[in-house]
């Protein structure tokens, strides 16, 4: 059964990637009576959709969820596959449903007689990936707005609707559905590898700062977009990390790349002793005209429900997040104190880490282009490592392998998530690439080898070598 590769395009063919068709949030309890259906709808994208169609689409989702309860009352539908699209359902808070409708990729062919044939590629989207995307949507919303229920308590439906519109209007434009992959399923954190000495230096830096800036409740320390230290709970850190690395940092990267430090934020003016600057908050802390305001974030929403100011401060490649209770008013004096205290020390620390990083690099020898690429993820500490993804930008995650191979990784991952067992899967794709997936004790490793002529035994040897060099302390099932 030879399949023609779906990506082989000829002049008469046009391809359309998956795109966001609809995104809506509803609560069936808000409009239980007939004729009141519109009240259920809290958010609907695109807004210009006609009212009756909105009601119909929400009704369909309700019906599907209700229908599946016939077969399992506790685990209702998570997705609906149709010829043209896939719909993903997520109930993040009781009775609050989020639905994301993603169109299937399309190939449009022009026949000889001039007519066009549209072919929906129904098997291209991975449920696990887009299921993770919709969960991410909620987590990101919650990070900046708190829970739906809390908003309802504070300001009723109106406040919630207002918040949802303000957040999702912008956020949905940054979804980039066509470049989502296995990494979204993991939602992991990349950790910066360090020697003990430097790690201790960073820890003592964090302690000193927390001591001197007593208002600070939590601190997180990153280098090169990788995490080194965090005082937050894992789940909160995971979504904050996502925000920092895919949104905040990329937005501030460009000035550094062109060799000029951003003149705007943080008030570099008159301060030549360090490279520190604020990435959040006022663009110039010394300008009395600019109000002192930092973004608020919500953490520990399950129990303590804390609202915090998020201050992100960066010097060269080192970034520190200081989180301060939102009830405390942020003053210009505090910002100036922070800047003068953290700036010089962080600059020094950043160059220390950089030096150590370069020494390590030199010791490990010149980098050869390896004939394999891999993704590693540890469910216990959320640690992720990838050599497949080249660079994260604000717009997308670039991968160095063919999207089909990424989807095979996704397939293997969903096989693993079925049972909590140690397993290994080795497959050979139609393109003759070998793909290996290993799962052992909460850890997952995926390797893509481009030694097309290798056999199973040789592939096994390669992966063994990789495990020995990269993960020498981790046991994998042989």
């Amino acid at each position: 059964m030879l399949m023609i590769s779906p990506r082989m395009t000829t002049a008469q063919e046009k391809q359309f990637p998956p795109s966001l068709q609809n995104f809506f949030i509803y609560n069936p309890k808000l409009g239980p009576r007939e004729g009141e259906e519109e009240k259920k709808i809290l958010f609907y994208h695109p807004t210009e959709v006609e009212k009756n169609e909105k009601i119909r689409n929400v009704g369909l989702c309700e019906a599907i969820v209700q229908f599946t309860r016939t077969f399992c009352p506790t685990k209702p539908a998570k997705s609906l596959h149709t010829q043209k699209n896939r719909q993903f359902f997520h109930e993040p808070e009781e009775s609050f449903w989020m639905v994301m409708v993603v169109s299937n990729p399309i190939i449009e062919r022009v026949n000889k007689d001039g007519s066009t044939v549209v072919e929906y590629q129904e098997d291209e989207l991975l449920d696990t990936v887009y299921g993770a995307v919709i969960q991410q949507c909620y987590s990101m919303y919650k990070l900046f707005n708190g829970t739906f229920a809390r908003s309802m308590e504070l300001g009723g439906v109106e406040l919630l609707i207002q918040k949802l519109e303000k957040f999702f209007f912008r956020y949905l434009q940054t979804l980039h559905l066509q470049s989502r992959d296995l990494l979204d399923v993991f939602g992991g954190i990349s950790f910066f590898p360090l020697d003990k000495m430097t790690y201790l230096k960073i820890q003592s830096f964090v302690n000193r700062m927390e001591e001197n800036l007593s208002l600070v409740k939590y601190t997180a320390f990153l280098y090169n977009d990788q995490l080194i230290w965090s005082g937050l709970e894992q789940d909160d850190m995971r979504i904050l990390y996502k925000y920092l690395t895919t949104s905040l940092f990329p937005r501030h990267m460009e000035p550094e790349l062109i060799g000029r430090d951003s003149p705007g934020r943080g008030g570099m003016t008159g301060n030549l002793h360090h490279y520190g600057r604020f990435l959040t908050g006022p663009s110039n802390i010394n300008d009395p005209e600019i109000p002192i305001r930092f973004p608020r974030i919500f953490v520990n929403t399950k129990d303590k429900y804390e609202e915090l100011h998020l201050i992100v401060y960066k010097a060269m490649s080192a970034a520190v997040c200081f989180m301060i209770d939102a009830s405390v008013e942020m003053t210009r004096e505090f910002c100036q104190k922070l800047d003068s205290l953290v700036g010089p020390q962080l600059t020094l620390l950043a160059s220390d880490i950089c030096e150590q990083f370069n020494t390590n690099k030199r010791l490990s020898g010149p980098e050869k282009e390896p004939h394999f690429k891999f993704i590693y993820f540890n469910h216990m500490n959320l640690a992720e490592k990838t050599t497949i993804h080249m660079r994260k930008t604000a717009s997308m995650c670039l991968t160095s392998v063919h999207p089909d191979l990424m989807k095979i990784l996704g397939d293997i991952n969903s096989d693993f998530s079925r049972a909590d067992e140690d397993e290994e899967i080795i497959v050979k794709a139609m393109t003759d690439y070998w793909v290996v997936g290993k799962r052992s004790d909460q850890r997952e490793l995926y390797v893509i080898l481009n030694q097309k002529n290798a056999n199973l035994i040789e592939v096994n040897e390669e992966v063994k070598k990789l495990c020995a060099t990269q993960f020498n302390n981790i046991f994998f099932l042989d």
């Binding site: 599946t68 209702p76 043209k84 989807k407 397993e423 080795i426 050979k428 794709a429």
Partner: protein, 538 residues
């Protein structure tokens, strides 16, 4: 001549991805699946095939049928006229096309004797459809008309489930109203798969590891099963005349056949492989039997089929007429579901939906032995030829008895087909080998540790999962090796064959690679016994 064929250099031992790289470099060319040319793999037929050559999978999931249906929706149903054209082509064969009887006469003759068995199964049907045990069934199947009239439910009565089926119909039509087609719903631990073959809708709720496509494939089998009893023409006519017709009136008594088909699909890999398993038999004995069937011919005969225990002994066909594996599976199922055929000779109309969904054949069914293990099916185009065909059966028996062929065959049936240990690979527990050009497959008896029915179904589920991964419609693979806690599995698909192997979890990768070579050699050595290499025509 035959020796020639066998002495030809068979490249499968050193081709593909599993042999050391040095050996195969020459073989690796532009072709994505090098080595075996289709038709030279072990089990490939020497002269001509006896089945419709299907790319099984695509054929079954029937993209074309669907497209045709959609087209007909858009342009004032040219689909119907297309159907008529097709039926014209087959008009010689389809006998009663224009005098299809709408009443139960036909069915009566066939299902007599099965009704009583059905009664005993009733308790099973009348379970509480709100209970947890009902929900936990591995696979529910529902069939209903487009108007929402229940036709079949695997567990629970259709009456108790009419609301559920009503909701399903509503979902289908709401999504169609948006110019879209519902395919499936996915939740944690189960999926709901929909297929629509106008005028019927079929839905499965599966807790298995099968892919959406595999479940849809099984639903199509159920659809074909219904067609085989009614013909598509009759089915369409019924619902054209009365959209809310209660089809159960016509199908009453046939639920058992559908139940049996579903149970069979849970256990027998034939359906998954879309291929037919042959009864292992020495080539000379099989030739004698085929000869007997070939001699007992009649102008109206299209196929003569001899089966034993859901395995094919031999098949003789009219020149230029090919049987589709799906049709043969439906015949296998019909035989294994009904005890009525044991009583004597049965003459019954049967539609072979893949051959021609619009007309009936007339089939003479009889068991040749006391123990009812050998079943002969003579498929004729003439409804009035019962006595002629019955005479053919007598001739078959005569010839078989002549040289003691019959006794040798019966003796052979006493022993199980074959054990995996005969191959001589220590960690190998089970395998399935399919020759793609002939549509035949072979596999040994299922043995320890897959002794309980639950374990046997688990093994098939593992194969189903491998199959759906390697045949994934958008990301097909060439090769899979899986290491698990309870077993290691291997799947390998080339243009010539498909191989699925199950090893003990103690087996190594080196062992598995060596096992492939050894197994392929063994199959080549045994191919005359395991496959039908010389199919005959009348």
């Amino acid at each position: 001549m035959e020796a020639d064929v066998h002495n030809k250099k068979t490249p499968w031992e050193i081709n593909g991805s599993l042999a050391p790289a040095e050996l195969q470099r020459n073989n690796r060319s532009e072709s994505p699946t090098p080595g075996l040319v289709e038709g030279t793999e072990p089990g490939a037929r020497q002269d001509s095939a006896m089945f419709v050559h299907t790319r099984s999978y695509e054929d079954l999931t029937g993209g074309e049928e669907e497209k045709r249906r959609q087209e007909s929706d858009e342009t004032d149903s040219p689909g119907q006229s297309q159907m008529e054209e097709i039926s014209k082509d087959f008009s010689e064969l389809s006998t009663q096309l224009n005098r299809v009887v709408m009443d139960e006469e036909i069915r009566d003759g066939e299902v007599e004797g099965t009704v009583s068995c059905r009664d005993s199964a009733l308790s099973d049907k009348e379970e509480d459809v709100t209970s947890e045990s009902w929900r936990q069934h591995r696979k529910h199947v529902f069939v209903f008309s487009e108007a929402g009239k229940p036709i079949y439910s695997r567990y629970g009565t259709e009456e108790a489930l009419s609301t559920t089926m009503g909701v399903m119909v509503a979902l289908v039509s709401v999504i169609e109203a948006g110019k879209n087609v519902i395919k499936s719903i996915h939740a944690e631990g189960y999926k709901v798969v929909f297929i629509r073959r106008s005028p019927l809708v079929l839905v499965a709720v599966a807790r298995t590891r099968q892919s959406e496509q595999e479940v849809a494939k099984e639903l199509l089998y159920i659809y074909y099963q219904i067609i085989s009893l009614l013909t598509l023409t009759q089915l369409n006519r019924i619902f054209e005349q009365k959209t809310n017709y209660d089809l159960r009136r016509l199908l009453s008594g046939s639920e058992r056949i559908t139940d049996n088909l579903l149970n069979l699909m849970d256990r027998d890999p034939s359906f998954l492989m879309c291929a037919v398993r042959c009864l292992p038999l020495s080539a000379s004995l099989r030739d004698l039997i085929s000869g007997a069937l070939q001699q007992a011919k009649d102008k109206s005969l299209v196929f003569s089929i001899l089966i034993a225990q859901n395995q094919l002994v031999t098949l003789v066909r009219k020149k230029d007429q090919f049987l589709h594996p799906v049709d043969l599976h439906l015949l296998f199922n019909l035989i294994s579901a009904s005890s009525s055929f044991r009583e004597g000779e049965v003459w019954t109309p049967i539609c072979l939906p893949k051959f021609n969904s619009n007309g009936f054949f007339h089939t003479h069914i009889s068991y040749l032995d006391q123990a009812s293990s050998l079943c002969l099916m003579l498929i004729s185009t003439e409804s009035e030829h019962f006595f002629t065909i019955s005479n053919c059966k007598r001739k078959v028996l005569e010839r078989l008895n002549k040289r003691n062929t019959f006794q040798t065959l019966l003796d052979g049936l006493q022993t199980p087909s074959y054990c995996v240990s005969q191959v001589g690979i220590s960690d190998l527990r089970h395998f399935i080998y399919k020759s793609r050009s002939s549509g035949l497959f072979t596999s040994p008896e299922v043995e320890h540790p897959y002794v309980t029915q639950e374990e046997q179904e688990r093994l098939l589920e593992l194969y189903q999962h491998l199959y759906s991964r390697i045949h994934n419609s958008s990301r097909p693979l060439k090769y899979i090796y899986y290491v698990g806690q309870r077993e290691n599995l291997l799947a390998w698909v080339t243009s010539g064959f498909e191989l699925y192997m199950c090893f003990s979890p103690m087996g190594t990768k080196t062992g598995a690679v060596n096992a492939i070579t050894k197994l392929m050699k063994w199959i080549r050595k045994e191919e005359e016994r395991l496959f039908i290499l010389n199919p005959l025509t009348y």
